[in-house]
């Protein structure tokens, strides 16, 4: 697809919550890579794609991925991660800084931006809160922002020192950068490798109690309240965290939060058989937690669905459960898993688009999440009825560590446009 061409997506259901639109039988015109008003005289070579029966949504934005470059390119690169994103309907990715080395300075941020320049998704680097994510001293927020970082996190590790976290929040305000918290009280989770409960007891694996997360979620809320600076809680997995966030929002604390599809889909029973593709941090929780997460997605306690896409090779996963690496890939399953919530009438299609596109864009303060005229044509076309089996062979990501291999899904992204360029097409 040549960027200068005119493209017409014809006859779809337009779902654009940022502009309060949910309209059947709608067209979208794309001219020179941007969403445009219908031209008075359409050019003769206008490409027309019939999207009848499909949803046209703003490009999906995943505010929490690990792209592994630099340092672990055998797991994923920025380019391969962006391809996986396109295949899953994503046009924007916020990549966490726990690469090797850590993205804790302007030159690293710049490197990521440069590597991402010609890729199939917009890549928004998240800089680290502390140098080398060691939790000791603040990284250079301002310089990273100037180089293109959109937010700050030591994700993968909590900021244990409460004073440092307070300073990070205060100082982030000076640069208008969002702080994202990986909420984990490490002394409670130490050596744990799955949720603490009946399954961990049965398997003889050391558990991580739900309180390891909620204690830290409460601290983050208290610090946001103390400083008056917004905070975003990553990968919420427990009912208690949800309750804390809900009550904080009710009293006006500036807290936003995301969860990942595995937390509203699976429980710790997925670990049975010592399945290392069900090992992640925070761990899969109980069915009670899963229900609470689902409710929180519906009632807007949780603001976004992010994948925590964490590629690992068999070197890290085909080992004893306790020594296996944490994390699963998610870019190619997030949309089908979230669509399942729509099919179960837990959320509406509009809410799905909010969770996967408009809200991540708003929380991060990045472009996208809207189909307004003049916006870059980052667009996802979703066929809600497309039936497919997620197979290992079909995975675009370099890594294959997913607990969903072999699952049958209903609904997926069938066309992804990035600035009007087709990055994925199976329409």
């Amino acid at each position: 697809m040549n960027k200068m061409q005119t493209l017409l997506l014809k006859g779809g259901r337009l779902i654009d919550p940022a502009n309060n639109i949910d309209r059947e039988n709608s067209d979208i015109w794309i001219i020179d890579g941007s969403i445009a008003a219908p031209p008075d005289a359409p050019p003769a070579d206008t490409a027309i794609i019939d999207v009848t029966g499909k949803w046209i949504t703003p490009g999906l934005i995943d505010m929490h991925v690990h792209l592994r470059e630099p340092g672990e390119e055998y797991k994923e690169t920025i380019a391969s991660g962006a391809q996986a994103a396109a295949a899953g309907g994503f046009t924007g990715l916020a990549c966490m800084p726990n690469t090797s080395p850590v993205n804790d300075c302007a030159s690293m941020t710049r490197f990521i931006r440069e590597q991402a320049a010609l890729c199939d998704a917009r890549v928004y680097p998240v800089g680290s809160i502390s140098t080398a994510s060691e939790g000791k001293k603040l990284a250079e927020f301002g310089e990273m922002k100037a180089a293109g970082a959109v937010a700050l996190s030591d994700d993968g590790l909590p900021v244990l020192d409460s004073q440092l976290m307070r300073r990070a929040l205060e100082y982030s305000a000076s640069h208008a950068m969002l702080v994202i918290s990986h909420a984990e009280e490490s002394s409670l989770s130490r050596n744990g490798c799955m949720n603490e409960g009946a399954v961990s007891t049965r398997l003889g694996l050391k558990g991580i109690p739900a309180a390891a997360e909620s204690i830290m979620v409460y601290r983050e809320i208290a610090l946001a309240e103390l400083t008056g600076v917004p905070i975003h809680i990553a990968h919420v997995s427990t009912a208690e965290s949800v309750a804390l966030i809900r009550s904080a929002k009710e009293r006006g604390v500036q807290v936003t939060a995301e969860t990942a599809p595995h937390y509203f889909t699976l429980t710790d029973e997925a670990v049975l058989g010592y399945n290392t593709n069900a090992k992640m941090n925070p761990p899969l929780r109980s069915s009670r937690d899963r229900e609470a997460i689902r409710e929180a997605l519906a009632d807007a306690t949780l603001d976004a669905v992010a994948t925590d896409h964490a590629p690992h090779s068999i070197l890290e996963k085909e080992v004893e459960f306790s020594t296996a690496a944490n994390g699963i890939i998610g870019l190619e399953t997030a949309l089908p898993l979230t669509l399942a919530l729509v099919k179960e009438n837990i959320i509406t299609p509009t809410r799905l688009v909010e969770l996967l596109s408009s809200q991540p864009a708003a929380i991060l303060g990045v472009p996208g999440g809207s189909l307004a005229h003049g916006a870059a044509a980052d667009i996802t076309v979703i066929d809600p009825d497309r039936i497919f089996t997620y197979t290992e062979e079909s995975i675009v990501s370099t890594s294959k560590n997913s607990p969903f291999i072999g699952w049958n899904f209903e609904g997926k992204a069938v066309l992804t446009l990035l600035g009007g360029r087709i990055t994925h097409n199976e329409i």
């Binding site: 398997l203 694996l205 558990g207 010592y274 004893e320 459960f321």
Partner: protein, 316 residues
Amino acid sequence: MSRTYIFKHKHILGIDQFSAEDIFHILRTAQSFTEISNRSIKKVPTLRGKTIINLFFEPSTRTRLSFEIAAKRMSADTFNISASTSSATKGESLIDTARNLEAMNPDVIIMRHAFSGSPHLLKNHTTASIINAGDGTHEHPSQGLLDLLTVWQHKGQIEGLKVAIIGDISHSRVARSDIQGFTKLGARVCLAGPATFIPPKIEELGAEVCATPAEAVEDADVVMALRIQRERQNDSLIPSLREYATFFGINRQLLSRAKDDALVMHPGPINRGVEMSPDVADGPQSVILDQVANGVAVRMALFYLVMGGDKNSTGE
């Protein structure tokens, strides 16, 4: 159970995998093998030409010896690989070790490993039968079976018995195997110990948790102590072994709450004076050495059954 029963398990990973019928079949098979160990020539040709590897990533004297004696009494060729001499110390992964052993075509690999679930990983990379000789804090199925056999021999039944297990349930693979084994056969398993040693939701494995050792031991038919590992006092799980012995050790006074003919058991090795006082360990109710003897018979039965003894019963 008069219909033809065939033991269908290729691997012995945990008591978790067995039905009550499976367990009774193993116990009956083991009982029939106990006689061999009392012969003057303690050997049958049943497993002649079979190769059995003892793959131990954790130190063990008793369990390894018990498996080795069991294999030799059935005429199998046995080989011992221990962590200190194996490739584990050279950084070879468990899967590579499995593949290398596989190339030598063993029939059974007996595995002990510090990490829960390791035998489950090994079984995906070998065609041999895997027998779990203890994986982390998960299970120790042959120990559970020999405990069941010992109680069965003395009590004539398992159903309806009250079994008290006192000690570090959290870190005990023996406890997980025993809880499931005894409850599957209809016994009541009552646990006691410091709350730091009681894992969450252990009730879902079928056990009852008692507030005190006295409550667990009251009217019990079996009183079992678990070994306390000395390093636990450094993990803030117990303040000291001394305090543990005072409040949770099995002594004559605590034992007097159990039935008069209650059996005293311990998976060994015993910290005498910590989890069990010497007079109880060596007293008339102790069946600790019967447990050791039965270990050989149970392991002979497991070899026999995983190698299809039921199906091509050329017998002893």
